[in-house]
């Protein structure tokens, strides 16, 4: 993705180079080549490119028409998916993004549920505002949970024996995402340290200055470069870069680096200590002053230099004292005795930095952010309030304009300017949809004004508010991936207006082929009580399985969905295959399906007939000629219940009666009484009438079946009348 560069500092929104929708920069050199392994023989006649799922492109490659190809085995074309490396944050792979997405679900859901309960409390009139006093504590907890996902740049443990010449510690490369999140947390969530905001910014720059090096000259880069040369330098203090680098480190208050480097000074070496005593004394005096610098903050991390003061009066007193010490050293007479020019100049330069000399600070720092930090530290250490911080930042930007504004810097400007829309725009443009959806919690918690702005329903957004818009966008991104679609509902459900509708669409859109996926989909329906969606999905699954020959599965899902209409329809199809009087062998196959249809409480459409039919066939099989047993009675009962039941399809009447011929011609005595036989005769009559109807489906039986059944029934009737009289 070409980086959008705009001439105007900071703005960037109005790219009207040639009126193109997407600005195309012909000079961008970072064209990426994606090799396609289509494995087709030339000639390729056509290539088509379209969007596939998510951020992938579908590339279809076609050969010229198959008629021209020499052999049949040649493939006519191939379809491939190509994933352009268009990550918003190039530092994170897709898999790492997914991990962040998974991890942020729980903190987000917890915060939403807390908001809902807070809202319900305020509705009952117990509390005047939904965002009562403790709200920022919840946001802070949320922020810390999310932050821990984004990686911890300070986590890597240093070596036990420190390399004396290693100035910059190697740490895990931080990500811009983490830097941006920390920035938001610092300004919006961490109310406890609002008083120490400038010092927190100093820490932030120390952690993430390396990131700014992507587009800016930085002190970090300077240090890295110098560290590379350090080993080759024999007399370090003769090198002008040495003093430059120390001044730069001091200007952004990397005190321990400045002190460590000062102590690399040649005058510390034992063989020179005697001859350079005064020089060494001056170097050490500056080093001590640096390490005693007063800081307005509650504490410092291990190994960090400076003296902490929690309250402003204490800090002011200490600051004045420290400044006095610096001035005193500056006007000391010892400088005249220092023979080494570079040392003298370098140290004096550093004292000027500590005294807040604006022009020297400007030369020691590389970009406006660093200049800003140095101004906060040395020129206006008592700066409080966003307004004054913002005006200072503006001043620094004027002094050191950005050629290519770094995305983190744009974000800082937005935050300091308290411009909610700009912050959101920067978040979504530079840090992706995840950032926009999650950082909005900071903004709504930040101020009432921002909250009103973000929660205001807008007609141009279709009646939704900005908060919902960003959540919907993020949910859309989640939905496009087969592994993350399951967490999209969490975000959709938090969208009051359109969330539910989109959730239903998302659930309907999931494929039903995979049993496991289907079950997971239904589970989401259950969680959100979307019973109608769930039953529709089950219907879709049922029909899908039915169509693919998995009749049992199809019936199961349709039963679960209680879809009588569909069940009735497929029953007719099933009867076609049952139609021919089932042999014993094939009935074993049906056994499982019939078991599934099971008890009568479950809806089965016309299929419950199969269950009775199976019972009838089974009992008929157990009937032995000649002797009346329980099985015989059972068979007669089954026969009667089948013929009485209205759900028994007409086309089965004749096969059932034909199967029961041996019951009708029972040797010993007639098994059916007069009324039973009459009922069967009536059915037979009905059947004869129905046969005249053009839609009638003829059973696969011998042609004389009807007449033989009629004869048997008549015979039985005669015998039954005799028996009863």
């Amino acid at each position: 993705m070409p980086r959008v560069a705009s001439g105007s500092g900071g703005g960037g929104a109005s790219d009207s180079i040639t009126g193109a929708l997407v600005p195309f920069l012909p000079d961008s050199q970072d064209a990426v080549v994606y090799p396609l392994r289509h494995g087709l023989k030339p000639p390729i006649s056509r290539v088509s490119i379209s969007w596939a799922r998510g951020n992938t492109l579908r590339v279809s490659v076609f050969r010229s028409s198959p008629a021209e190809s020499d052999s049949d085995e040649d493939v006519g074309g191939k379809v491939m998916e190509v994933r352009p490396g268009g990550n918003v944050d190039g530092q994170l792979s897709d898999a790492q993004w997914r991990r962040i997405a998974y991890g942020s679900v729980s903190p987000f859901a917890l915060l939403q549920s807390r908001r809902n309960s807070a809202l319900s409390v305020s509705k009952m009139g117990l509390s005047p505002s939904p965002y009562h006093l403790e709200w920022w504590e919840y946001v802070s907890e949320y922020s810390k949970d999310v932050s821990s996902l984004l990686g911890n740049p300070k986590s890597s443990a240093g070596p036990v024996i420190e390399d004396p010449k290693e100035v910059l510690k190697k740490v895990e490369e931080p990500t811009c995402l983490k830097a941006a999140w920390d920035l938001m947390e610092m300004f919006y969530a961490d109310k406890l340290s609002q008083a120490w905001l400038p010092e927190r910014l100093v820490d932030w720059l120390a952690d993430y200055d390396s990131l700014l090096s992507d587009t800016q000259a930085t002190v970090y880069l300077k240090l890295m470069e110098f560290q590379g040369r350090l080993v080759t330098l024999l007399v370090i203090e003769d090198d002008s870069r040495y003093w430059e680098v120390i001044s730069s480190a001091l200007a952004v208050a990397w005190l321990e680096i400045a002190v460590k480097m000062l102590r690399l000074h040649g005058s510390y070496q034992l063989d020179q200590l005697g001859s350079r005593e005064t020089e060494n004394g001056l170097v050490e005096a500056v080093a001590v002053l640096i390490s005693k610098m007063p800081r307005l903050r509650p504490e410092l991390g291990a190994g960090k230099l400076g003296e902490c003061f929690k309250t402003k009066p204490d800090f002011m007193k200490a600051w004045e004292r420290w400044r006095a010490q610096v001035t005193k050293l500056e006007s000391s007479a010892f400088w005249l005795q220092c023979d080494h020019l570079q040392t003298r100049e370098g140290l004096k330069n550093m004292l000027q930095i500590m005294l807040g000399n604006a022009s020297i600070l400007s030369t020691a720092t590389c970009n406006w952010m660093e200049l800003y930090i140095s101004h906060i530290l040395y020129i206006r250490p008592f700066t409080v309030g966003l307004e004054s911080m913002y005006s200072l930042a503006q001043k620094c930007i004027q002094l050191k304009p950005m050629t290519i504004p770094h995305k983190l810097m744009r974000l800082i400007v937005g935050i300091l300017g308290e411009n909610t829309e700009v912050i959101l725009a920067e978040c979504s443009r530079d840090f992706g949809t995840w950032m926009a959806a999650h950082a909005i919690e900071f903004l709504t918690a930040g101020s009432d004004q921002a909250e009103v702005l973000l929660h205001e329903e807008r007609d141009n957004l279709g009646g939704i508010n900005i908060e919902e818009l960003h959540r919907l966008i993020y949910a859309q991104v989640l939905s496009s991936h087969i592994l993350t679609w399951q967490i999209a509902p969490i975000y959709l459900i938090s969208c009051m207006k359109q969330g539910m509708g989109l959730l239903e669409i998302l659930l309907y859109r999931q494929p039903v082929q995979h049993n496991q996926l289907l079950v997971k989909n239904l589970e989401i329906c259950r969680l959100y009580e979307l019973d109608s969606v769930s039953s529709n999905i089950m219907k879709i699954a049922g029909v899908y399985h039915w169509k693919h020959g998995r009749k049992g599965y199809g019936v199961f899902w349709l039963q679960q969905a209680r879809d009588e209409v569909c069940l009735n329809r497929i029953a007719q199809q099933l009867f076609n295959s049952v139609g021919k009087s089932i042999s014993d062998e094939s009935f074993k196959q049906w056994e499982g399906l019939i078991e599934l249809l099971g008890s009568e409480s479950k809806p089965a459409g016309g299929l419950e007939f199969l269950h009775k039919y199976r019972d009838f066939k089974r009992s008929l099989k157990q009937v032995n000629d000649g002797k009346i047993t329980d099985a015989t009675q059972q068979a007669v009962e089954s026969l009667m219940s089948l013929m009485k039941n209205t759900s028994t399809p007409q086309r089965f009447w004749l096969p059932i009666l034909y199967d029961s011929l041996k019951l009708l011609y029972w040797q010993e005595r007639p098994l059916l009484n007069v009324s039973q036989t009459n009922l069967l005769l009536n059915k037979l009559q009905e059947l004869s009438m129905a046969r005249l109807h053009p839609d009638f489906i003829e059973a696969d039986l011998p042609p004389q079946a009807l007449s033989s059944v009629r004869l048997a029934l008549a015979t039985n009737l005669g015998r039954a009348i005799l028996e009863e009289s």
């Binding site: 997914r98 998974y102 991936h481 592994l483 049993n515 020959g549 049992g552 056994e591 499982g592």
Partner: protein
Amino acid sequence: MAITGLPQPPQIHRVPQFRYVDSIRWLPSISPFQKYLTVAFFDTDSGTPSLEIHSLSSSKTLSLLSSWNPPSRISSLKCTPSLIAASTFSGSLHCFSTAGKSLESVFAEPQISVVGRDFHVGPIGGVDLMEGGSDCVSVGEDGRVNLVKIGVEGYHGKGNCRRVFDGNGLVSYTAVRWASPTEFVTGGCGFGLQWWDLRRPGSAVAQFKDNWDQGTTSGIIHSIDIHPSRKHTCLAGGSAGTVFAWDLRWQQEPIILSGVGTNDAKTHSLSESDVWEVHYDCYMKSASSNTSSSRILPAMICSEDGILAVIEQGEEPLELLAEPCAINSFDINCQNPSDVICSLEWESIAILSRP
């Protein structure tokens, strides 16, 4: 859920994989100090499934020993001390021998691959390897029950595959488990269980169908386990948090261990979502002194709503893990039952060591 009877919670390590974990199993090892896993992965970025053997170090890091790319995603995975069997969603079965081989070379080539329309059409629901034997039974959504004899080294071909039953799609099977060298149990829709005996071919010798609930919903069996010392009892887990035991001696009366379909106050309902896997848990000693053969031994389950727990008849369930995402499969190390491994929906593996 009250944590009872366990003085300390298990140690849990979560290892992110950046790939979807379809299935996970412990691989029995010869050395007691070495632990091996076989894992079925699916890499969505490249769209490639893979079957891998990893060794697990004491610091809970995985290192790859051997890997193989199946033709499609793995639907079911089983391991015995000498064999690994994996079935796919495209209906093929692949068996690997681990006997007398270094683990690095196990996945060089499948000992047997059975593919084709004569075998299974569509996804294979489950496979099981006979303990100590060489027979593999596979069941599918197409309703077929197949038996594959994994013969001597180097024996290939389809002659060793036998159709036990063809349901022609009228039924679908989703799980299978051997009960004895000639008997196995299959499970499917409607909480149906079928007991098969190879000596009486043609159809199942016993069938079970849920009849405990008069409600209108039913479910699917996802997993079956049979304890080697109680071969007449079959433990099954499936939809709606249902876990029940079916004793062949009392076929009409299932013993329900967990589930929402019941109104029985004595049954603890642990989860309302699908139970993906059940295994008897030989690590848990039965809390009751009643050791009659009709009593169901403690069992472990994992569920769609992220619960890994041990349940026992008439006892309060013991929750080992409660994740924000689904636990799709788990396995108890049969050599060291305190070790449990499970695969999580969010592309990671959790390793539990019980105290």
